[in-house]
């Protein structure tokens, strides 16, 4: 199945997984940092909100690496688009367009709603796919196993309900 981005063929999962492992280990071995990206959301919040939660010590300590790392993430996506056929703003959303089919305003509302769950949920759960899923599981941490199973369950249930139950999608 092609990517939404320029219909590119994705790299093999084993190559991608190996690259993610290499970057995770590099981050720890070179910079003594535990991979985790959802904390980056509170780093950005901490620039705007002066609440106690966003001025606590771990946020102040993590900002110095996470904000540049996040800037790199966006730049990596930008490079990928440029090298894969050129960068241009796009509204393409793959099977969402075919099955759910909302226009730009609907997509913005849909994505904002999804974002609310992501922001609130990752803070309450203490991490996301990277910090719990990749790092935490690799480090045999029980809270990470519990959280990973929980977000996989939440995602499975939601996609199954939205696509198979509400929109009667079938392969």
């Amino acid at each position: 199945m092609p990517l939404i981005l320029h219909g590119l063929t994705p790299i093999h999962w084993a190559v991608a997984g190996a690259a993610i492992a290499a970057i995770t280990l590099c981050l720890l071995f070179v910079a003594n940092r535990r991979l985790g990206l959802s904390s980056g959301l509170e780093d950005v919040c901490s620039l705007l909100l002066k609440l106690p939660y966003f001025t606590r010590s771990s946020v102040r300590a993590g900002r110095a690496w996470r904000l540049p790392f996040i800037a790199g993430l966006a730049f990596g996506g930008f490079l990928s688009a440029v090298l894969g056929g050129g960068w241009a703003p796009t509204w393409d959303l793959g099977m969402f367009d075919q099955v759910i089919g909302l226009g730009p305003a609907g997509k913005l509302a849909w994505m904002f709603a999804g974002g609310l769950f992501i922001g609130f949920g990752t803070r309450l759960g203490g991490g996301c796919t990277s910090g719990h899923g990749i790092f935490g599981l690799s480090n045999f941490e029980m809270p990470s196993l519990v959280t990973t199973l929980s977000f996989m369950a939440g995602g499975l249930a939601t996609t199954q309900i939205v696509y198979r139950v509400i929109f009667h999608w079938s392969a």
Binding site: L3, L8, P10, W13, A14, A16, G17, A18, I20, A21, I23, L25, C26, L27, L28, S38, G40, E42, R56, S57, S58, A61, R66, P68, G72, A74, F75, G76, G77, L79, A81, G84, W87, P89, M95, F96, K107, W110, F112, G114, G115, L116, F117, G119, F120, T122, R123, S130, G131, I134, L137, S138, N139, V146, T147, T148, S150, A153, T158, T159
Partner: protein, 149 residues
């Protein structure tokens, strides 16, 4: 060091972009059980990170010789509730936190709305933390000490 973080982030973003991990269709394909790709990526990532972590911890020091410090995540009732809520958001947006930034970089306009939502969601959590603390047995905020970076 800042440049190192930007470079590692760029490499990570490129891989997420080209592997399907930042692709709405591949995320839905994972949750619909029609695509193995994401299970393969996360599985390979964990299977290779685990022995590497073990080796680094056994070595005990970073490349520059500083002692390895891994901050462990707290275990509390927020793990399940927060996990489920995040999973719902991952399914709706087709992005987890890292890929939100990758999608913005790729030029996907709607990813800006996902970022706005995620910041409001995280901001809301921070604003009502004191009220959630008791319900989910969350750790008290440590406001005092500052870790050298």
């Amino acid at each position: 060091m800042t440049l190192v973080y930007v470079l590692l982030g760029t490499a990570f973003g490129f891989v997420l972009s080209r592997s399907g991990a930042a692709d709405y269709d591949y995320i839905q394909g994972m949750f619909l059980f029609t695509q193995f790709q994401l299970y393969g990526i996360i599985g390979t990532g964990v299977v290779l990170t685990a022995p590497g972590l073990w080796l680094i911890k056994r070595h005990g020091r970073t490349a520059q010789g500083a002692p390895i410090e891994i901050e462990l995540k707290p275990r509390n009732r927020g793990n399940i509730a927060g996990g489920v809520l995040f999973g719902i958001g991952w399914s709706i947006a087709g992005m987890c936190p890292g890929p939100i930034f990758v999608n913005i970089g790729e030029g996907k306009v709607y990813a800006l709305a996902a970022l706005a939502g995620a910041l409001v969601g995280a901001g809301l959590f921070g604003a009502i933390y004191s009220r959630l603390e008791g319900i989910f047995s969350l750790p008290p905020l440590r406001l005092g000490e500052k870790r050298a970076s």
